[in-house]
């Protein structure tokens, strides 16, 4: 019996999901409140267990908890916390099946946490599916709404196709190396196994194909252009708390998987120039995401396209590998920092959308006009999140963009220039909402917005996070820099 201590948070979260499920079944008549608090308590305990469990590895190196894993696990737990806390309004609209909703969120979070700490391709694949299959169900959770079912179906079809493509890439890597373990020595294994494998000597071709298919598979999860088609529809149709969870946690899962695979096996794939390939995808995501976001009239769709653009910015940090001795805020660390900043700003923006929807029942951007007059608090806090997403100092989004671009400048100056130019476009559509809220004339018949307690908690915590990370980024940056030292750069 191995010492399961490093796996404690995941095991606890899985058990807690079952507890929440049973609690939901046993008390059908109750409102969702007790379930929300029960789930939140579980997530907080899991967060406390992460430092207690400590670092280590299990099952012959299949499961490795290091600082990199811990960083992303914290991001996932925060995302799940905010998504659960902002789902009070949704619970009121559901007639039944409340326990399952939270249990599925917890199971998906368990999958993400496992994904962050796996160093083996079978486990990686199974964790990725544990992450996404509950999300398919959650996207289709409003059984009375056709748009929700449609979102679930579209997400499921494109998600399954992307995992098939990813799997095909993984099977090629397995065939070329004879192992499913991710390790820096993969290149030597390729040299050993290939002579008997392919007489034609077309090894590089097979390797390129494997990498393209794996990037495409992860690209779907990240909603990168041209694999982004599912994102706007799913974001629009899914229940809004799930949309917010998808936009941060699902993207984070894609980031953690792609970073683990490519950073760990870096020397093996060095000749293939995957960096340039991913850089082109990042540029496409920034351009298409930002330009299309300008055209949207539905705020959930707009945030979907903005999240596609943010995936592009994240990847600028991803491809900015350190060359020799570079200054501390280098690429991989800036990638981690960006996820943390994006987490608070995006979850906060979605919490505002949920508050607005709950009070006024609309997703249209034009309905936000005059918000500052009848609900000044919501207008101020929404402005804060939008400015952070746009990258205005001194908020978290600015520091994140600054570090990412600083890291990317050395290797991909053209990518950074595209990033800066598209940031200007981004400012246009974020500012449009702020203009609507503050400067539009005309009367509204709407009354002051009211919040339930968990949602208020989400709004306050995300706002504090956005400001704190922006003003005092050192601790997180130091943690991120430490975290990426696990990789062989």
């Amino acid at each position: 019996m191995p010492d399961l201590r490093p796996m404690l948070p995941e095991l606890f979260l899985f058990a807690w999901a079952i507890v929440v499920l049973l609690f939901g079944i046993s008390r059908k008549e109750r409102s969702g409140d007790s379930l929300i608090y029960l789930t939140l308590v579980g997530l907080v305990i899991t967060g406390i267990l992460i430092p207690i469990a400590g670092y280590g590895n299990l099952f012959g190196g299949t499961f490795v908890v290091d600082k990199f894993a811990a960083f992303f696990q914290i991001v996932f737990l925060f995302a799940a916390f905010f998504a659960v806390a902002s789902s009070h309004g949704l619970m009121k609209k559901l007639s039944a099946d409340r326990g399952e909703f939270f249990a599925l969120i917890l199971l998906s979070t368990t999958g993400m946490m496992l994904l962050a700490s796996t160093l083996e391709l079978i486990t990686l694949y199974v964790s990725l599916e544990l992450t996404t299959i509950p999300l398919f169900v959650l996207a289709a959770y409003r059984k009375d709404q056709l748009s929700s079912s449609e979102a679930g179906l579209k997400y499921l079809i494109l998600g399954a196709v992307s995992s098939a493509i990813l799997l095909y890439g993984i099977s090629l890597v397995y065939g070329l190396t004879g192992t499913t373990f991710l390790q820096p020595a993969l290149s030597r294994l390729i040299e050993q196994s290939v002579p008997m494998l392919l007489a034609s000597g077309n090894v590089n071709m097979a390797l390129v194909m494997a990498i393209v298919m794996m990037v495409a598979g992860f690209g779907f999860k990240l909603a990168l252009v041209p694999f982004h088609m599912w994102a706007p529809d799913v974001y629009e149709g899914a229940p809004t708390p799930i949309t917010s969870f998808l936009s941060v946690a699902s993207k984070g899962a894609g980031v953690v998987a792609i970073a683990r695979v490519f950073y760990t096996t870096l020397p093996a794939f060095h000749d293939v120039h995957w960096g340039t390939f991913v850089a082109v995808l990042a540029a496409a995501a920034m351009i298409v995401g930002n330009i299309t976001a300008v055209l949207q009239s539905n705020i959930k769709r707009m945030l979907a396209f903005s999240s596609i653009a943010h995936a592009g910015y994240v990847l600028v940090g991803f491809v900015a590998l350190p060359q020799g001795s570079t200054v501390p805020p280098y690429g991989p660390a800036s990638l981690l920092f960006y996820m943390m900043a994006y987490l608070f700003a995006n979850m906060g923006a979605f919490a505002c959308v949920i508050a607005f929807e709950k009070n006024f029942g609309s997703y249209q951007i034009k309905d936000y006009h005059g918000l500052s007059k009848h609900s000044p608090g919501l207008a101020i806090i929404m402005t804060l999140f939008l400015l952070s997403l746009a990258g205005i100092p001194p908020l978290a989004g600015f520091m994140a963009k600054y570090y990412v671009f600083l890291a990317g400048w050395q290797q991909f100056p053209w990518l950074v220039i595209i990033g800066l130019l598209t940031s200007v476009i981004a400012l246009f559509y974020y500012a449009n909402i702020i203009m609507q809220m503050y400067f539009s004339r005309g009367e509204t018949s709407l009354t002051k917005a009211r919040y339930d307690r968990p949602l208020l908690l989400t709004l306050i915590l995300t706002a504090v996070g956005t400001v704190a990370v922006g003003i005092y980024p050192e601790p997180i940056l130091r943690f991120a820099t430490e975290a990426v030292k696990v990789f062989p750069f």
Binding site: E129, V137, S149, L153, L156, A164
Partner: protein, 103 residues
Amino acid sequence: MEISLAHYLALAAVLFGIGLFGVLTRRNAVGILMSIELMFNAVNINLVAFNRFVTPADFTGQIFSIFVIVVAAAEATVGLAIVLLIYRNFRDIFVDNINLMKW
């Protein structure tokens, strides 16, 4: 003639291509789910063939393919449940007609 690794890989590639083509052209949601199964099974052929020819001494590829089968079954279950839900609401499972939101 002996069947070599290349034959298996070609079979898998063709099967994968047929599956992908089916996903893109089928209009019936159940047909799309069946095409996705074809893609997963193409991967299984790849894994088992690589296991046989590259690492005959261990079972990594075979175990992997069992995991793929199990996960694909779970995915298909959720997929069929959503299709059933849509059929109850729309009375229709043709994806051309399921387009409240623009693609």
